[in-house]
Amino acid sequence: MFIVIACMLAGIALGYLLRRHKLRFIHRLTLVLIWLLLFLLGLEVGANETIVRQFGSLGLEALLLATAGTLGSVLAAWALWLVIRIKPSKL
């Protein structure tokens, strides 16, 4: 699985080497690849009868994880907010 990370690091190196050239098409390429991958992911989910049957319970687990994760991060941000506000300083 580290091949995936290696691909990104290779991309960063190449992008940095070519930093004098603005590679505008790369955002479009990224978007098209995301479309293709989500299409494939949808295909895989749809064709998998076990997943389709469990979709409701998977959705419920997803809802619980999303709510708990968001709430946790909101409380952490609140803590930092209180610290920053007590000691007034500019942004």
């Binding site: 991309g11 050239h21 494939l40 895989e44 997943i51 997803a62 994880l65 909101v74 941000a77």
Partner: protein, 200 residues
Amino acid sequence: MKGSIVILSFFATGLLLGLFHWIPTELLNYNFSFYVLCALMFSVGISIGNDPSSFRQFRHLNPRLLFLPILTMLGTWIGVLAVSFMLSGRSAADCLAVGSGFGYYSLSGILITQYKGIELGTIALLSNIIREVITLLLAPWMVQYFGKLAPISAGGATTMDTTFPVIVRYSGKDYAIVSIYHGFVMDFSVPFLVTFFCSL
């Protein structure tokens, strides 16, 4: 918002075609999506490396706000860990991997499907879509009760694109750079953290 709908409609189209077996799913047997994923990560890398100027503008930030992404991560992990005890059949590492998508549903759904299989990948996709939607809908309420940094943390990796307009609207223009900085750091961290928790 419009971009998200387009992305999701690709997922929905695939879902319908798979559901009704309209196209041969043998397409999935050749590791094709793995190679596309590598290409995607390569192109994400290029766009990061190609734009060093985005690092420079972060120098004007209040140093204490530099910690915001770390707090977002810690808060999220504590939250999902608490839930992981309620979910039998999901390990703590599985839940941490899903949480570490931080709203970046396309990438985290795809990565987790590759590493851990389609079931956890589906949870990751749905969970991170829900996180983005929660932020979009509840941002004003978060600002009111938990301060102006709250919707930025809630938005996770999306605070420089999809949830950015909402954050600027409710936290104020002064928080635009914090929001972009936060989104940038979180975006960059997602592939590393997801890979890390999937390898545990």
